[in-house]
Amino acid sequence: MRVLLTAALAVLVAASQGQAFERAGDRKILVFAGRQEVPTIDPSVKYDWSIRMAQQSLYDALVKYVGNPPEIVPWLAEKWESSPDAKTWTFHLVKTTRFHNGDPVTAEAVRFSFARTLKLNQGPAWTLAEFLKEDDIKVLNEHTIQFTLTQPYSPFLSWLPWWYVMNPKQVLANEQGGDLGQKWLTTNAAGSGPFKIKRWEQGVLYELEAIDGYWKGWPSKDHIGGIIYKIVRESAAQRAAVIRGEADIVEGLSSDDFDQVAKMPGIVVPNFPGMTTFGIKMNTQKGPTKDSNLRKAVCYAFDYDALIKIYNGHAVLQTSPFPNATRGYVPVSGIYRQDLAKAKEFLAKSTSPNGGVELEYVYVQGLEEERKMGLVLIDNLQKLNIAVKMVPLIWPNMVARGAKVETSPDMMAVFTTPLSSDPDAVAYQYHKGSFGKYYASSFYSNDAVWSLIDRARTIAKWEERAPIYADIQRRIAADAPEIFGMLANRRWAMRDHVKGFVFSPVRFTGEVDLYPLAIVAK
């Protein structure tokens, strides 16, 4: 009887691990179980990983980031040129592009889309608003557009993958009270991307359908016929969904869960170093951490290997303030590693030579990895007679604390993903222009570094920019505004019939480029 029962249970468990993808006619629909909602898909209004994954599927941009290291490839624009001073940029559009409703994608549509984003002053507007004014976007002919910047700006191209092109006719036809179509575009799309909306059940699921005659074509004959992005908020339920075959891809599992599902048959776990840095930002303008010697003592006391252990080995240590995949990255020689003798040496030079201070460590409430890092800090700094007070805060409160120098904590655990692969995207996080943003909670101040950042972004030739960024990395590291931590690997759990996954570290955590995905059922 007992044997029979066990056998019956085994059959049931085996039967429960079925195929994942759904079918709609002859279309194979990929199921992605993600924790985050997609509150809006308006390309001018907001972005985060789930929003951008949807935007990238519904819209096209002039250029696109592809691969690892991230490369900018032509997309709506087949070619482009810039003036020698990097002030004027001219793009030539592919002539066969079509919006989903059949309208051609013209230079006027590009102009309208950029002007709309600048006018609304939300979402990606901050990346170019300082350099690009609406009147300086000129349509040269139906398929050529020119941007004249207010000053030379080399990273211009690196932001364009996130400036999506909308169909002006559809947007204006759905305008309500002069909102430039904001309300309509929250849950509707006016794009030319590889997918179109099929179902939009806010907070539940979002279904996209592949465009059969997508102007760019499809990279595989087995390309997915659509995708259902289903909200699964609980990590245990996400894990169960991929094991049971109710989802083809899940993101956001814990390190242990990823390791566990990676061993299961039928599941693969792509594992790549990302561009998201983890650092413990120290307030450089207030409190005990104002003293650079004390900051260096903290940096030398910290056990960096513990970071890797917390992620079960799926992380690499930072060797520069810049992530490894950033253009112009150089490893900084002598970057901080645990060395108690040096830590004590720097502490002796500080205003608290015998320690005896308490440092506040603020981290995201409920984020287990950050809590463990705090415990490591407590243990490490105890050796310097420095106490650590762990303060878990919910994200809004943390952001509020880090926005002002007076309230910014001594130490704050921060993950940061740069929006582009250009070094300016990371360097500018250390510029006074970033004060008030969560990743600038150290309020790092160094006039020489700031002027180098200002200068490097205006130089057109990479050969001239590169050494400046190498210098910037060394100078920032020398000032120790933070504990330069690690880059956690990006991981997803996928059923093994999902093919064509292309990783690019410039994408956000969890974000997948859905266009190249295919389902090859056994």
Binding site: N121, G203, R233, E234
Partner: protein, 324 residues
């Protein structure tokens, strides 16, 4: 009462240090972008002015707009509340349907195995946290046995029927969409059972205690002495009196469940107002929090009003005092 509730919620929401405009604008937003959102949503005005405007809006049916979803709060609540209402009502019906008979059986068969078993159920219901029970049920019945869905309101390929009442089960019934109805009910089983369990336990305990007390009363002894059947004594004379405190507890519990579904909704991805409230709270999105508070408060009052009416039906003394 609702005004007091709104005052307290508004005060608590605005004491928290988060900056909703910055969160809505995004982590990279410039100061001008943040200010634009602040002005657009009226967050740059003094707090009393903001509260005054909010109250005026509420009186005219405008509950404000969510910074997070960019929808009106009324539209969001219309989307999420019916799901919570269905879940809580289903769980409460199940809890009452099982809890009252179990309470009676437990009292009638006091100190027998029936009583012991019922007490195990009721103690477990109170002691086991709902989220843990939910995860365990999910693991066993959905993941391993595969006989019920893991979560969600409907299967991935099931399209909801055209909304009439916005209650999925009712709409599926009205439209004769039997496949949708079956799918909706299958998805409702695990969250309903999980949510029902603590309420069931409380109902069993209270009803058992009241039944035991009532069965000791002189008029029951008298009825027995007159040879009235035990079934009639229990069903007609004892239960009615024992139900009065149970009913009060059901009313309170129903109101509490409406506001306390968040864990169950999270585990089973049930798109209800609990999840909506939490997502709004972690985004410092005040107006949805106020809207949810208002809706829960109203429903709590409504549930207690219904309980008061039921008192009258159960207890002739209350009925006569009401009519007087």
């Amino acid at each position: 009462m609702l005004f007091g509730l709104l005052c307290i919620t508004f005060a608590i929401s605005h004491v928290a240090p988060g900056d909703p405009a910055r969160l809505a604008a995004g982590p990279d937003a410039t100061a001008s972008m943040v200010e634009k959102i602040r002005a657009e949503y009226g967050l740059d005005r003094p707090l009393p002015v903001q509260f005054g405007q909010y109250l005026r809006g509420v009186l005219s049916g405008d509950l404000g707009r969510s910074l997070r979803t960019r929808e009106t709060v009324a539209a969001d609540l219309a989307r999420y509340f019916p799901n919570t209402f269905e879940l809580v009502t289903g769980a409460m019906l199940l809890a009452v349907g099982l809890g009252v008979p179990l309470g009676i059986l437990s009292a009638v068969y006091r100190d027998t195995w029936v009583d012991q078993l019922t007490r195990v159920v009721s103690v477990s219901g109170i002691a086991i946290p709902a989220f843990w029970a939910g995860l365990m049920l999910q693991l066993l019945l959905a993941l391993h046995l595969g006989i019920l869905p893991l979560g969600g309101r409907l299967g991935l390929m099931t399209a909801p029927p055209a909304p009439v009442t916005h209650l999925l089960v009712v709409d599926a019934l009205l439209g004769g969409h039997w496949r949708v109805l079956g799918d909706a009910l299958a998805h409702a089983v695990l969250p309903t059972v999980t949510l029902c369990f603590p309420a069931l336990a409380s109902i069993v305990r209270v009803n058992r205690a009241e039944m035991l007390e009532t069965l000791k009363q002189d008029y029951i002894v008298n009825a027995r002495a007159q040879g009235v059947s035990e079934l009639r004594i229990v069903a007609r004379y004892a239960l009615r009196n024992a139900m009065i405190p149970t009913l009060a507890m059901i009313g309170l519990r129903y109101g509490w469940m409406l506001g306390g579904t968040v864990l169950v909704e999270t585990v089973f991805d049930w798109p209800g107002i609990g999840l909506y409230a939490v997502a709004s709270a972690v985004s410092s999105d005040f107006q949805p929090i106020m809207g949810v508070t208002l809706v829960i408060g109203l429903n709590f009052m409504l549930a207690n009003f219904v309980v008061d009416l039921a008192y009258g039906w159960l207890d002739p003394r209350v009925r006569s005092s009401m009519s007087a």
